[in-house]
Amino acid sequence: MMGINSSAKQVLAEIVSNKKVGAYHHMVFAVGDLANSAKPGNFVAISVGGESSQLVLRRAFAIYRTFDRGQSVGLLEIVVAPHGAGSTWLANQQPGAKIDLIAPLGTAFGIPTEPVRALLVGGGYGSAPLFGLSEVLKNRGCRVDMVLGASTAMKIYAPLDGKRSVSSLTITTEDGSTGKTGKVTDAMREIIEANEIDIIYSCGPMGMLEAINDIAEEFNLMHQCSIEESMACGIGVCMTCVLPIKGEDGVIRMLRSCIDGPVVAGENVIWKAKRTIPEGTWGA
């Protein structure tokens, strides 16, 4: 088992900006020097609701990107989908408000040492961490193709400046309101068949990640994905956010997505057994 991200710090961070983008809010926080220790794939755990709130747990958000401009002006950005009471509260906070956050948390996307061809696939606001990743990959000389999908156009998060670091961007929507009609997996096949993709990176709902992993297995490609499960603490103490994952020793363990994840190798996740304890799991 891994330990908590050794760079993680708890800070009171001021909101620098909060802009509505489609169905989402793009929020920027002044976090100081922790901005330089965040890597693509890491997440932030944010306290919501204020002092007298009945919401007792933090909310986890993938870090969209960070800017390290020195100790006093380090910025951390996230994309918030206001759907529950906590995320709605956060999305309604105005610049100047101070927010209690812990970052960076969890594992990061592994970056290849060689220039490879990478396919990045995001569902909904799951695209957020992929832009920072594509920037890093591009700087390493990798070719980056990106596929973003959602049910409808409003739920595609693809900012202009994020697109600069990708060689191609394909958008799919289930209702056809923008891009190709269909799912990300349809578009993925075309790209994989037309290009020599070496690795897939993905972030989105668990059902989508499983479908992406099936394609990765079919084409025998490496696949790193950012997983999720109902999480209470985000810092590894509560043991609620576990998933069955196979270790290097071949043993399946219930691992915490906040510490051993959120980024894991897709081939190690026991997808078919998700939300159960698979037979043979350590301690079952």
Binding site: G3, I4, S6, A8, Q10, S47, Q54, L55, V56, L57, R58, D100, I102, E229, S230, M231, A232, C233, I235, G236, V237, C238, M239, T240, C241, V242, L243, R253, M254, I259, K274, R275, T276, I277, T281, W282, G283, A284
Partner: protein, 311 residues
């Protein structure tokens, strides 16, 4: 000079703020935020004889001012725990209360034998009330006979001076009756309260939200239940020291449990929302006690029980 020290059974602690079992991981995670030696004690996650995967997910559902969990005592088992976790905590200078849980009376006996020779442990919490087991009949603290049998098994096998803290559930007709049984069976002290059995149904899927269907409710939502249980048990047995817990997130909350009769207070769910919660409560409770004119923590324990004539 304010005296913050406290005792549970024969064990002495520098201050009354502990972690709650299952709410501090292995201790390593929280040590990134503060020094564990600052706590009155680290109460470790209830450990069982063998490695345990715990229950399926989802294991967690947030509720108004609380949460449900059905983790099911996931852990490495007693042998790996004693080999890795205890020495690590000792090296941190932490005061250690080990929490154990068994599936049978014999499990408790074996666990006690494994722990009796281990140095650096201040007390043993015997969790006989985890709600996250397949069979509710297996919750030892739900019945006087099984509660007594589990605590007796520990008492007979632990030997020496290690104080036993029996952790009880409020999900019984009379918690005082269970408390009296376990004290008669050899418990030196009581941990009140474990989580309260609850359920959430997802109105979209129209099924229970947790894979295990039921879960333990914790957080500020259950604090009045904790205060009531502590008050009742302290009234019945004022000489038995109580480790209080249940939705404590501030010094004022902790003060309430102390007034009800707790000699120490564990911080659980609040740590999930704020890793510094225990340190915050430690400072706030001290201020609360001083502001109310107490020279020591001990003077405030059970103060809500004083007779009408006293101010």
């Amino acid at each position: 000079m304010f005296n913050y020290q406290t005792t549970l059974g024969q064990a002495e602690f520098e201050n009354p703020i502990f972690t709650a079992s299952g709410c501090a991981g292995s201790g390593k995670e929280l040590s990134q935020f503060f020094e564990l030696s600052q706590l009155g004690a680290v109460v470790t996650k209830s450990i069982m004889l063998k490695a345990r995967s715990g229950r399926a997910t989802p294991r967690m559902a947030e509720t108004p001012s609380g949460m449900l969990n059905s983790i099911g005592l996931q852990g490495p088992g007693i042998d790996l725990f004693l080999e890795n976790d205890v020495p690590w905590l000792r090296n941190q200078g932490a005061t250690i209360v080990v929490s154990i849980a068994g599936e049978s009376v014999e499990d408790y006996a074996v666990l006690a034998r494994k722990i009796r020779a281990v140095p650096g442990i201040s007390a043993l919490e015997v969790n006989i009330s985890c709600p996250n087991v397949e069979n509710r009949g297996q919750v030892f603290a739900c019945h006087p006979e099984t509660a007594r049998a589990a605590i007796q098994a520990v008492r007979r096998n632990i030997g020496g001076e290690l104080p036993i803290i029996a952790k009880l559930t409020p999900d019984v007709t009379s918690i005082v009756e269970i408390a009296q049984e376990v004290v008669a069976a050899g418990a030196d002290s009581l941990a009140l309260i474990n989580t309260v059995l609850g359920m959430v149904i997802d109105t979209n899927t129209m099924r229970p939200k947790l894979a295990g269907k039921t879960g333990g409710l914790s957080g500020p939502a259950i604090r009045p239940i904790a205060v009531r249980a502590i008050y009742q048990v302290h009234a019945a047995m004022p000489h038995v020291k109580i480790l209080g817990m249940g939705g404590v997130a501030s010094g004022q909350d902790a003060f309430e449990l102390i007034l009800a009769g707790a000699s120490a207070v564990s911080i659980g769910t609040a740590t999930f929302g704020n890793p510094m919660a225990a340190m915050k409560v430690k400072e706030e409770l001290r201020n609360e006690l001083v502001d109310h004119g107490f020279d020591s923590l001990r003077e405030a324990v059970g103060y809500a029980h004083r007779s009408e004539g006293n101010l």
